[in-house]
């Protein structure tokens, strides 16, 4: 039992932290956001150069064979920087689908391009009615001699407007909420019949609503079993949650340090406000939440590769419950301790709060995961 990073993981951490320190200050971020895409292509190239885009893929496909702990390390640093680039969508989400579902040929075709930085992907799993249920899929895929045809609407596709290719979940059989009959289709973003409406999200990132009208898909673009891909989707969603927990911890660390620094500089009533005991105790509450969240992000990272699905899902849900709780507690308190400056877009703390609040809502909020955990019997089995 140990909580240490390996030597390689430490090197990775150092290099990402350095990259962020050099290229991702709050001012940098603001300027990247004004770029046409809403993020920095130059940063994307740097991620490629550092190998971050290749991180979780197998070496034979041009990757680095990194695991969940590596992703945790990177996502925590990205959380501190509030990065805008579609790393999560491309590498963790779509990349996860490829890792678990794609054929050898598909992997050879796509992964090297992701690794180089020349291809971005998105994962269109959600629909307007589906809320957090991954199996709630109305979009239809119908089969003919040449391949499949997709019809339907996908919602909240993270970085959907930047992606070159989009992994779409669609129903090949059954009713809207059946767990069987769901397939994964790799669709070209410029495919005929595919329309995207990109928009900004609350955290300064971007998403898209996508409509599919008779979009043709060749057989070679089907990932995995067209009638039974929910296990892949669930697996990717669990990894997504673990990665988001780490990103949230990065946000929490910044909120905690920025807030304590502020308590040590701001003066009112002729003294530093950090000398007021009520504020000290709030700051301690923030620290305790942070440490508890960090513990659970580590737990999720260590458990997400667990083959026993029940153990894995319990752990991941428990982590997301903790993160959701801490996002509120830390977010609210750190804004409160800043007073009005905390409410402004000019100051950083609110940006962390907003991202953390959106992370809470990605792949299931605390209530959703508490329900899932309870349905799985909780973490502790009776004798």
């Amino acid at each position: 039992m140990n909580f240490d990073l390996s030597d390689e993981q430490r090197l990775l951490q150092d290099s990402v932290e350095r990259l962020i320190a050099d290229w991702y200050t709050f001012d940098h971020r603001r300027s990247y956001q004004e770029d046409k895409a809403g993020y920095s292509e130059a940063m994307w190239a740097r991620y490629a150069e550092l190998g971050l885009l290749a991180l979780p893929f197998a070496e034979k496909h041009g990757g680095f064979g990194g695991g969940a702990i590596d992703i945790m390390t990177v996502m925590e640093a990205f959380g501190k920087a509030l990065i805008l680039e579609p790393y999560f969508a491309t590498v963790v989400l779509a990349g996860g689908v490829l890792r678990y579902g794609a054929s050898e040929q598909q992997k050879m075709d796509i992964i090297p391009q992701i690794a180089k930085g020349s291809m971005k992907l998105a994962f269109a799993y959600a629909e307007p009615q589906s809320r957090y249920d991954l199996f709630d899929v109305e979009t239809k895929a119908t089969r003919d001699a040449d391949g499949w045809t997709l019809n339907g609407a996908k919602g909240l596709v993270l970085c959907g407007d930047a992606a070159d290719k989009i992994v779409v979940t669609a129903r090949t059989a059954g009713d809207t909420r059946d767990t069987d009959g769901i397939g994964l289709f790799l669709v070209d973003a410029e495919a005929p019949g595919l329309a995207r409406r990109g928009y900004a999200t609350q955290d300064g990132l971007r998403a898209a609503e996508i409509t599919l009208h008779n979009v043709p898909v060749r057989f070679a673009q089907v990932i995995g079993d067209p009638a039974g891909s929910l296990p892949i989707i669930s697996r990717v969603a669990d990894e997504a949650v673990a990665a988001l927990c780490a990103e949230a911890v990065g946000c929490f660390i910044k909120m905690q340090t920025i807030t304590v620094d502020y308590l040590k500089t701001r003066e009112q009533f002729g003294r530093k406000i950090g000398t007021f005991q009520v504020l000290q105790h709030s700051a301690v509450d923030i620290l305790v939440e942070l440490e508890q969240s960090r513990s659970m992000a580590m737990y999720a990272a260590m458990m997400v590769s667990e083959c026993d699905a029940t153990k894995r899902e319990r752990a991941v849900s428990a982590a997301k419950v903790q993160i959701g709780r801490s996002a509120k507690a830390i977010g609210h308190q750190s804004i409160q301790l800043h007073g009005a400056i905390g409410m402004t877009m000019e100051y950083s703390i609110g940006h962390y709060f907003k991202r953390a609040a959106m992370i809470e809502r990605l792949f299931g909020d605390g209530d959703h995961h508490l329900r899932r955990l309870a349905a799985l019997g909780g973490l502790i089995d009776p004798h």
Binding site: M1, N2, F3, D4, L5, Q9, I69, I253, Q256, V260, L263, K264, G274, T275, Q277, L279, Q280, H281, A283, V284, D285, L287, V288, L290, E291, Q292, S293, R294, S295, M296, M298, Y299, A301, M302, M303, A318, V321, Q322, R325, L370, R371, L373, A374, G378, L379, I380, D381, P382, H383
Partner: protein
């Protein structure tokens, strides 16, 4: 980063499990599980069984177990989960480290073997009516008179003093200096003339704490530990150990298991409480916090870096703060589970003998007292507010 224990650690765990199975009287295990009160002889018997295995933290030369921090963690987890911890052992856990760190050879030779064997029962005479959180303001006086001190004053909240053979006690030996600088650490024989012990009934109905009146008590100067007027340093060392002892993860885990078992037997609305989503989610919310605490504790045990330097030292405050909160939450869950049969009151004696009149489900009798007494967890060993003061200062630098 890896959650798996090594083969040696797993073997150690199996060994501990086996030892507990072979040595802890089954009656004691059952009483602990069901929340009965234990008699002094049961508490002593339990403590003796655990100490025989070796006392965590103690140096080997005095009978310490010589375990690694991970082994200590495993031991504690198994003991709590069994459950086999009959009492808080003030002797082995609190006074012994002060004796072997600051005491003289004669004291070490005399007291340590007796403490290890639980020949004497110890109590902690720190708090006074006027000195709680502000412990250093204590007023019990010890005036030197030849080879004796004459002790005059009052202690309060002294746990299990009615059973105690000895008390380790903070006394004021110099009233004319800064309050922290005039305190000494004395070992007092509870049979000394001039000592009166009055048990205090707490809201759970039990008499776990006492007032101890010291009226012209003569204590030999050889019972002074370390140097005169240096007692505050020893007390701080002791209080640090007290906080660090455990975050009761094992106890809380065992309680959650019990909650799940009882909920499966408890009827509600024609079904069972265990099937009700709202209740299950409430339990799960506590389980999540407990898992986070367990991971945080493991990080401390594994000496993983914490958020800020200095955090490692004050981590025990985080564990105490969060541990007491979760322990209280599990007691609340039990209380919510038990329903209306929390109402009947049973005397301390009835709860000790297990001879409760047949009212309601048998297990219900112990729940309300456990809930009431759980409120103390955030008051003793440094209240939650004091822990926050410590963290704010030591970790956050505020």
């Amino acid at each position: 980063m890896d959650l798996a224990f090594t083969d040696e650690e797993t073997a150690f765990r199996i060994e501990i499990k086996k030892y507990l199975r072979d040595n802890v009287p089954s009656d004691i295990q059952r009483k602990l599980l069901e929340g009965h009160k234990l008699s002094k002889s049961e508490m002593v018997a339990g403590a003796r069984v655990l100490n025989k295995l070796g006392i965590p933290n103690w140096p080997k030369q005095y009978g310490g177990a010589g375990w690694t921090p991970v082994q200590h963690y495993i031991f504690e987890e198994e003991v709590q989960a069994y459950p086999a911890r009959t009492t808080y052992d003030y002797g082995a856990a609190l006074v012994a480290p002060v004796i072997y760190t600051f005491g003289n050879e004669v004291q070490k030779k005399y007291y340590l073997p007796r403490i290890a064997n639980v020949d004497d029962w110890w109590c902690q005479g720190f708090s006074e009516p006027g000195a709680g959180s502000d412990l250093a303001s204590l007023r019990t006086r010890a005036v030197r008179d030849g080879d004796h001190y004459l002790v005059e004053g009052q202690k309060i909240w002294t746990s299990a003093a009615q059973y105690a053979d000895w008390m380790f006690c903070l006394v004021r030996t110099n009233p004319d200096v800064k309050k922290q600088q005039g305190i000494s650490f004395l070992l007092i024989d509870m049979k000394s003339p001039g000592i009166t012990v009055r048990p205090i009934q707490l809201i759970d109905g039990g008499h776990d704490v006492c007032e101890v009146f010291l009226d012209g008590v003569r204590v030999q100067t050889e019972n002074l530990v370390g140097e005169e007027n240096k007692g505050w340093d020893y007390a701080k060392y002791l209080l640090g150990n007290e906080r660090a002892i455990d975050a009761s993860v094992g106890i809380c885990k065992a309680r959650i298991q019990r909650i799940k078992e009882l909920a499966a037997r408890t009827g509600l609305g024609g079904g069972r409480l265990a099937d009700q989503a709202a209740f299950r989610e409430k339990v799960c919310a506590v389980e999540v916090q407990l898992k986070a605490l367990e991971m945080t504790q493991l990080r401390v045990v594994a000496e993983a870096p914490m958020q800020q330097s200095g955090a490692q030292d004050a981590a025990s405050s985080i564990l105490k703060l969060k541990g007491s909160e979760i322990e209280q939450a599990t007691a609340e869950l039990l209380m919510d589970l038990v329903g209306p049969y929390a109402l009947p009151y049973f005397s301390e004696k009835e709860r000790m003998t297990g001879d409760t009149p047949n009212i309601g489900p048998g297990w219900a009798a112990m729940i309300a007292p456990a809930y009431f007494s759980s409120r103390a967890a955030s008051i003793y060993s440094g209240s939650s507010e004091i822990q926050k003061n410590i963290i704010a200062k030591a970790i956050l630098g505020l």
